[in-house]
């Protein structure tokens, strides 16, 4: 156990020392057995799960994916000969509870690491505690927070690309194939602002321009008053609406434009866990989406994707094998699978035995670069930047055709590169 409480001389520690000294001869014969038990004890991975709260739809699938990944790792012999155990705590998608859960992992459950957070505000709420507790904290968030340098050396994002990289990689396709005059419709909070800022910059670099930026307040339930703000010169609408009102958004956009609409490009975040055949989504036919990982099995589907779907129990349409209406968050949840495999590789490289080796684990992951397309990385090959603690990878652009998403373009890993904004390796542990 790693104790983070620094009490120079406390009553408890004094009593503990005295008691320990007195009892040592009696228990010494058993100590070697205890050490042996420790070496085969499970590696505990604290899973900070959005089981309730606004992230619950994602959380459900993050949990299934992580359980499947851990089952596979254990079938393959675990990590360094030890089984892996997921210790799951619900953070309610709340930053305060998130920080408490991180503390719980480190000081109550005695987890080796923390893992799995998706929503950025929970990451921001939890990361300072992870750093203070010196608990390696692997997030699956796609936020730019890690690579921006806002966090600390104990926070890493090796399983999914960040929004800045994703948006930058999309811009050339949008400019070359859909149009150069773009109107952005985005939620008026940090996630939407990231899209607004990063995409505006990226499309200008492609010779395009954002002709209007329409921010929608997060409490909005009807969108008709916003559509007249779309300039007539608009060639492409770029939308990243999220939340329960997204179906209304699409339906009202369809009613506004009728049969003659500009090109439409969106982020699948809007429709994760939503069946594309839901009433009202017919208007999306022919429109384009970014997908982190293609929801529908493609004609050139890799064996790695087949194995990944089978392990979690997902059909070729991205829905549960047992309930076709239970649509997954396929574009994001691979991050759990891949992050757990990165952790495995990192622990094996570092010869990880316990919390004392946490620094070695982080250094081992910082030294990683190439991650080949494999069963460990079914979404595609990746390149990890140890300085920024951020991974880079392929992005998929799909078009809705007859109610399913077909991949039209896959970006190169390099399309998402940008200048380093931080060097975490220069920070002390």
């Amino acid at each position: 156990m790693t104790s983070t409480k620094k009490t120079a001389i406390s009553r408890r520690s004094t009593l503990g020392l005295l008691g320990g000294a007195a009892l040592a001869p009696a228990v010494l014969p058993g100590l070697s057995g205890f050490a042996q038990a420790q070496s085969s004890a499970p590696i505990k991975i604290g899973f900070q799960l959005h089981r309730t709260g606004i992230g619950a739809a994602y959380g459900r699938w993050y949990e299934r994916t992580s359980n499947a990944a851990v089952a596979r790792i254990n079938e393959m012999g675990g990590i360094n000969g030890r089984p892996v155990e997921l210790v799951i705590e619900d953070d309610g998608t709340d930053p305060k509870r998130g920080a408490e859960v991180v503390e719980k992992f480190a000081t109550q459950h005695e987890c080796d690491i923390g893992f799995g957070t998706l929503f950025s505000h929970v990451v921001y709420g939890s990361a300072p505690r992870a750093g203070e507790l010196k608990l390696p904290y692997f997030v699956c968030s796609e936020g730019h927070h890690v690579a921006s340098g806002a966090l600390n050396r104990y926070v890493l994002q090796p399983g999914i690309t960040d929004v800045k990289s994703q948006v930058q990689a999309m811009a050339p396709f949008v400019a070359d194939n859909l149009g150069k005059k773009v109107t952005m419709i985005f939620p008026d909070f940090a996630f939407g602002h990231d899209h607004r800022d990063f995409f505006s910059e990226a499309i200008e670099a492609q010779g395009g321009e954002v002709v209007a930026k329409i921010a929608i307040p997060p409490t909005e339930t009807s969108f008709t008053k916003y559509f007249p703000q779309i300039p007539r010169e608009t060639e492409v609408i770029y939308h990243v609406m999220v939340g329960p009102a997204v179906l209304t958004f699409v339906k009202e956009m369809g009613e506004f434009f009728g049969p003659s609409r500009p090109e439409i490009f969106g982020f699948i975040d809007s429709l994760e866990a939503v069946d594309l055949s839901s009433p009202g989504l017919e208007f999306l036919e022919g429109t384009y989406f970014w997908e982190g990982n293609p929801r529908y099995a493609q004609a050139d589907q890799s064996d790695h994707d087949k194995a990944y779907r089978a392990a979690i129990g997902i059909d070729d349409n991205g829905a549960s094998l047992t309930d076709s209406a239970d649509v997954s968050t396929y574009a994001h949840m691979f991050s759990c699978w891949e992050t757990l495999n990165v952790i495995k590789r990192g622990m094996e490289t570092a010869g990880y035995q316990g919390p004392a080796d946490r620094v070695k684990l982080i250094e081992a992951i910082e030294d990683m670069t190439d991650m080949a397309h494999s069963d460990d990385h079914p979404q595609g090959a990746k390149l990890f930047n140890g300085k920024t603690h951020q991974v880079f990878g392929h992005q998929y652009i799909s078009q809705v055709e007859e109610g399913r998403l077909n991949v039209k373009h896959t970006t190169a890993i390099e399309d998402g590169f940008y200048e380093d904004e931080v060097d975490y390796t220069a920070q002390s542990f």
Binding site: K6, T7, G92, P95, H121, Y124, P128, G143, H193
Partner: protein, 310 residues
């Protein structure tokens, strides 16, 4: 022993017990206690208005958020040290509570609840609106190196615990003293019978306004302390649930008691923790408590055993 001596002894014993807790509790629970003390300050601020004055606000997250962002933005963007940061948090909460109190106290009863709720929602949306500076819902973190006061690293578990305890102790003794002053007695008189207090010649509006300002500033102190001690600020802390939490803490612990808010915060924290975040379990327990102990834990103890309880 007089009641006053008993009260002093109770408060002092509580602080001493919390000091001892650091040395005897496991690391996890000691860490929790630091959090609980910070939120108990929030609950004590709320209790001053709700428990002692009888004004039910549904918008205290605004004051908590004002303290949090007052300190957070001053340190994050202004680059000030923790000391001036705390002052910035307190001043922000004081000004916000003064303005809200001045306007909201033109109403009473249900209207007061709704007006405070609306102000808080406006505050929450303001944080989102100025996302360029506040980073909206995502929030921001205060670097560990900046979270020091007079050379003391407040990100260290022990320092954080005792910083929270000092603040908690100051607020506890302050409120314990305040409610026994003529001003505090008048607040209780307003709660019990506002018209009678008015007929006795008290300036009810002035007393209520001061109560809102004190309550809001103490709540702001809690928000600033959370940001400083735990290193982050998010809009979620200014949202509706964080207006409801102090109400629950106070109702559970015992409204109009000095240590009830702490007991309520402690109870609620572990209720959520032990139920694994399952709010259904928490909800059932809360309903049971409301049915069988409507005056809260401390209220029930006072009614049955210790009528002198402050």
């Amino acid at each position: 022993m007089s009641d006053i001596s008993r009260i002093h002894l109770l408060h002092a014993a509580m602080v001493v017990a919390l000091v001892i807790c650091w040395f005897v509790l496991p690391v996890y629970h000691a860490g929790n206690l630091a959090r609980i003390m910070v939120f108990a300050i929030y609950a004590m601020g709320y209790n001053l208005l709700f428990g002692y004055t009888g004004l039910l606000s549904l918008g205290h997250a605004l004051f908590f958020g004002a303290g949090m962002y007052g300190l957070g933005l001053a340190m994050h963007l202004g680059g000030v040290f923790a000391g001036p940061g705390i002052l910035a948090g307190l001043i922000t909460a004081l000004v916000v509570s003064g303005v809200v109190g001045f306007l909201a106290l033109r109403t009473s009863g249900v209207a007061f609840m709704i007006v405070t709720l609306m102000f808080a929602q406006a505050g929450y949306l303001t944080v989102l609106l100025f996302g360029t500076y506040t980073r909206g819902d995502e929030g921001f973190v205060l670097p560990q190196a900046t979270r020091a006061l007079m050379g003391i690293d407040l990100s260290d578990a022990q320092n954080r615990y005792f910083a929270a305890l000092i603040l908690f102790g100051i607020v506890l003794f302050f409120i314990g003293w305040l409610v026994r002053t003529p001003f505090g007695r008048c607040l209780v008189a307003i709660r019990e019978n506002e018209e009678r207090a008015r007929m006795l010649g008290y300036d009810i509006t002035r007393h209520k306004l001061i109560a809102v300002i004190l309550s809001g500033t103490i709540s702001g102190l809690s928000g600033a302390a959370y940001c400083l001690l735990f290193g982050s600020a998010q809009a979620a802390f200014a949202a509706v649930p964080y207006s409801i939490f102090p109400l629950l803490y106070v109702l559970l612990g015992g409204m109009g008691t000095t240590i009830g808010p702490f007991v309520g915060t402690l109870f609620m924290f572990y209720l959520i923790d032990w139920s694994g975040g399952n709010m259904m379990v928490a909800g059932v327990v809360l309903v049971a408590l409301a049915l069988f102990a409507p005056t809260g834990i401390l209220g029930e103890i006072r009614r049955r055993f210790t009528p002198w309880l402050p």
